[in-house]
């Protein structure tokens, strides 16, 4: 429901003034999602996997996570897709922990780290903020998620 609060807050003139937003008088209201853009999206890649292959080869740090109670882009979808990369395993599948509880499961592949977040929906940091914070910290440090 927090999206509704945003629709009101970001349409307030005093908020827009404080943020130097809408200085040109945009002829439509601020919305959390633009239906116009969504309906008229003109080009989309069928698959991002070729980009993953290119960027893994370029040596970028790549992490993919999935909240496991989202049914819109669910964990099974991500696993099926990533499996097509056929990456070799560096650290085998294990449960990771946050505040002495299982945060989810993870596997470190050569060039990519995959992690699930237990009990999190589509917007992982909204539903599991502590677990998402741990995930972000480990990502920035370039370290595997904690085993205990």
């Amino acid at each position: 429901c927090t999206e509704k609060y945003a629709e009101i807050y970001y349409n307030r003139p005093d908020v827009q003034k404080a943020m130097h937003a809408n200085t040109t008088g945009i002829p439509y209201k601020w919305t959390a999602c633009s239906e116009t853009l969504n309906r008229n999206w003109n080009d989309t890649d069928d698959s991002i996997l070729p980009i993953y292959r290119e960027l893994i080869a370029a040596g970028l740090r790549i992490w993919v996570f999935s909240g496991d109670v989202d049914s819109v882009v669910p964990v099974t979808a991500t696993r099926y897709s990533l499996a097509q990369l056929k990456l070799s395993t560096t650290i085998p599948w294990y449960p990771w922990y946050v505040k002495k509880q299982v945060g989810g499961w993870t596997e470190v592949y050569k060039g990519l780290t995959f992690a699930t977040v237990r009990g999190a929906g589509h917007e992982v940091p909204l539903f599991k903020p502590r677990a998402a914070y741990q995930l972000f910290r480990s990502f920035l440090r370039g370290e595997p998620l904690p085993k205990s």
């Binding site: 999206e3 609060y5 945003a6 629709e7 807050y9 404080a18 943020m19 130097h20 937003a21 809408n22 040109t24 945009i26 959390a32 999602c33 633009s34 116009t36 853009l37 008229n40 003109n42 080009d43 989309t44 890649d45 069928d46 698959s47 991002i48 996997l49 980009i51 993953y52 290119e54 960027l55 970028l60 740090r61 992490w63 993919v64 996570f65 999935s66 909240g67 989202d70 882009v73 669910p74 099974t76 979808a77 991500t78 099926y80 897709s81 990533l82 499996a83 097509q84 009990g119 999190a120 929906g121 589509h122 917007e123 992982v124 940091p125 539903f127 914070y133 972000f136 990502f139 920035l140």
Partner: protein, 260 residues
Amino acid sequence: KEEEEADRIISLPGQPKVSFQQYSGYVTVNQIVGRALFYWLTEADNEPLSKPLVVWLNGGPGCSSVAYGASEEIGPFRINKTSSGLYLNKFSWNKLANLLFLETPAGVGFSYSNRSSDLLDTGDYRTAKDSLQFLIHWMNRFPRYRHREVYITGESYAGHYVPQLAREIVHYNANSKNPINLKGFMVGNAVTDNYYDNLGTVTYWWSHAMISDKTYKQLVNTCDFRRHKESNECESLYYYAMDQEFGNIDQYNIYAPPCN
């Protein structure tokens, strides 16, 4: 420096006292048609100069980083129930990094274009190109970030934007005297591959008992998951699953009470 100061947010309405600096405003990414992207930078709450820059792109396509990334997920502020003020997010990612929320492409959130047709023919390609232009120009406005470690993050349809922007940066860096110090990216619940995403989605519905065996088999046997636009027969099956079998649930968080 003047441009940077002009973008400084003194304080947002209803904002609690904070120790970090924030800036927001527009960066023009196409002078000819007048296309400008909106950003909101919330710097790290301690030692921002020693911390990386993390760019958040939201999904959709067409959804606002300010609405979702900043206000619901990783940003320092949450909006209260009456929309009269803000309160602090205990687990804000700006404890670890400087957060740059980017509204991309034009038409998302506060970002705009003076050419109205831009809203009707945008897509992955323009999003990646404009986002790169944004970063280049933004770093001219904030030169202290020019050599900073950069990471890109996002969720959902940003599973397209984030790797696509990362690739644009890698290609740009190959021929640039001022490369962007991109170190990596992280995406969550990310749209990745049409066929395997769709197959994995209906399999998740079945394995989590959201749909019946019969509907699952019909979906797998009827739908061509490689297509952008499904057949009428397949669409009917999707509607049946959602209307008759899912029940009134929040599909984005299947065990949570729905927002009515």
